[in-house]
Symmetry: C2
Subunit: 259 residues, 2 copies
């Protein structure tokens, strides 16, 4: 990929910290909010501005990179040859708008389909979760340990609301078999809870930019990141995604049914 990964880390962390300052400033002002696929799928002027900021910076340093950005990708971007960047400026835009907390900014870098760097930034808490297979995973400057391989019965499970309400794949039974269900409204925040060991799993319908960074970090920390039926994820396709400890993944596999 030419430039070193250390160089990439320094650059991306700088962009994300600058983006944080823009986001915090925006929370004190009126946001322009539009809907996308439905009335609860929001985008703001800040999502667009931060994505543009990330993409311009990526293009300056990596002019040939392929960039799949939530708010701006085109079909031509949908390939993972060479260096591919997944950019989600604000994951949990509804929370950004309504709660001013519980949202994340995410960037992931893949090389020929293999994840090399994931970054999930809990903006309000100022905690950047980042790393890759060659160096491990860090929360800011502190190296993270693999979370305990807890079972479903002994752990909390994050489930997207539509999946729980419609009992997708029998997930209501999965919820009742766990220690409790949690819903925070941001894939990034929910995946942070799994890599920190606060939840044993998270399952939801996700787009590639929702799971690209989390997949890298979770797998480096010994977690399973697959479709709910155990099939591998396609990095260019939206699908159900289960991030879980290996024991919880095994427990969930026994309970799910095809929807």
């Amino acid at each position: 990929m030419g430039k070193s990964l250390e160089y990439l880390d320094i650059a991306v962390k700088g962009w994300m910290h600058d983006a944080r300052i823009k986001m915090l400033a925006a929370l004190d002002e009126d946001l322009d909010v539009w809907t996308k696929s439905g009335r609860n799928d929001l985008v703001t002027n800040i999502d667009k501005e931060i994505e543009k900021f990330y993409i311009e910076n990526i293009r300056l340093l990596y002019p040939d990179a392929n960039i799949i950005g939530e708010e701006s990708f085109t079909k031509a971007d949908l390939n993972v040859d060479g260096l591919t960047w997944f950019v989600d400026p604000i994951d949990g835009t509804m929370n950004f708008v309504k709660q001013h907390s519980h949202f994340a900014s995410m960037i992931a870098v893949y090389e020929n389909g293999k994840g090399i760097r994931g970054y999930i930034y809990d903006v309000i808490e100022d905690k950047l979760y980042w790393g890759g297979p060659d160096i491990g995973v860090f929360c800011n400057d502190v190296r993270m340990k693999e979370p305990s391989n807890d079972t479903l019965r002994n752990g909390l499970i994050g489930i997207g609301a539509p999946y729980l309400i419609h009992n997708f794949c029998n997930l209501q039974v999965v919820a009742l078999a766990s220690s409790g269900t949690r819903m925070y409204g941001s894939a990034g925040i929910q995946i942070i809870h799994v890599i920190e060991g606060k939840c044993v799993g998270y399952v939801s319908y996700l787009r590639p930019w929702d799971f690209a960074a989390g997949k890298i970090l979770a797998e480096v920390l010994g977690l399973s990141v697959k479709m709910i039926d155990g099939a591998p994820l396609n990095m260019l396709v939206s699908s159900d995604v289960l991030v879980a400890t290996k024991n919880a993944q095994r427990d969930i596999a026994k309970l799910i049914k095809k929807s």
Copy 2:
């Protein structure tokens, strides 16, 4: 009640800050954890220790007070004559154990059935939400404003997982009519989200010590705190409880069905 409310505020805040230090220290050590009504209804040695600490302090200053503590009340305590204290040392014990965050410590004071002081302490964030009808509601030292009277459609709704899974009173339809569903696993934390305007409502099955403090703070801030069918709460009975903006309460009333 003899001593002034200013005196009471100073005393309770001191106890709660001391309790916080005990809780944070406990998170670095091994907890003793037992189950109560079911495998997901937990109590730890710290719940018991903090409740004992609160009750001993209350008895020192208010020897005749009636105290309804989650871990220690008896049937004889179940009356609201005179000065009655509701004590929940750790609300969200599962989160305390599994997440080391998202739990609250709560105290409420009623006089002849009328709420005079509520305290909800977000222990990890070090934010104490407190107040009463005579002084308003504060977050630490900052006076809180009434949250915007948003509709269900324009707001996030907190729903307890069993209620959503079993579609209690048609709450799945309520969830789908909102801007999104949130589940944090602590009544105190969920009620904080409503009084801050981050969610338009919260509905769950609650015990008196789960809602006693929140009811005072929410009502002072112009929110509705009732059973889901609009009936008033009995302070000595566990029941479904809906804390919501008046507009969201009205919207929800149109959607619910008797379960």
